[in-house]
Amino acid sequence: MEGIVFYIIAIITIIASLRMVMGRNAVHSAIWLVLVFFCFGGFYVILQAEFVAAVQVIVYAGAIMVLFLFVIMLLRVDRAEELLSRHRIQRWVGVILGIALLSGIGVTVMVNILPGQLGSKSLEETVIKAGGNTQAVAEALFTDYLLPFEATSVLLLAAIVGAVVLAKQKREEKED
């Protein structure tokens, strides 16, 4: 059952990401990317990471993609883009480099991971002991990883300030 669901979602994800990368319209790319994010949510549910799945849908498919669509429409760049206007050879070099990268990662995975499974006990034990997936994540996040968690809040504050400063209109220049 898990296998069937995995392969169906995997095919949908690959098709949607291909459409996203190849699509000429930025808005269409963004909508395909939303589908990809939902598929990732599905993978996380299969992989017993329910809390991360929920966060994936809320943060990525909800917040980040709305931000992207907002900027696309704000800048009126939603018309079709002529792919590779100037550097025609760049497309082929990019694809060849991509295939080289894929085969490199593929060989690494095959050589190092394929023979035998890792791990002895299952994730379920940890999750059941904590009383649920969210509780298990929270326990790790607020004990062992408290310092990185606090550092994240500083990072988010810096991002907010940076975004406001960068996107702010400079009034002096406007009046000139």
């Binding site: 995995f6 690959i14 992989l47 883009e81 792919l83 991509g98 894929l102 990662i105 002895s120 996040l141």
Partner: protein, 100 residues
């Protein structure tokens, strides 16, 4: 149960698609979306590894990656907006000066 290697191969395929998108596309916003795709591909291998190694840490790290991705998207899009204000374009072929 799907073996770990299938998840890792899928993650590699999606990461490669993201890399190709970054190299091939000319629209700065689409390049940003491809970066998000690459971050998600890495998240997928984190979660798959977390299940196979029976450790919850993988899921915690994914939360941190998502936070960094959100911050990066906000700042990056602000930079794109500010470039568009001065240059009237977000085609990365035409944005070739460090100072305008």
């Amino acid at each position: 149960m799907v073996p770990l290697s299938h998840y890792l191969v899928l993650s590699a395929i999606l990461f490669t698609l993201g890399v190709i998108g970054v190299v091939v596309r000319r629209n700065a916003i689409v390049i940003f979306m491809c970066i998000e795709l690459m971050l998600n591909a890495v998240n997928l291998s984190f979660i798959a590894m977390a299940r196979n190694l029976a450790s919850i840490e993988g899921q915690v790290i994914v939360l941190f990656v998502m936070t960094v991705a959100a911050a990066e998207a906000a700042v990056g899009l602000a930079i794109i907006v500010s470039i568009y204000r001065t240059r009237e374009t977000i085609n990365v072929d035409e944005i070739n000066l460090l100072k305008w």
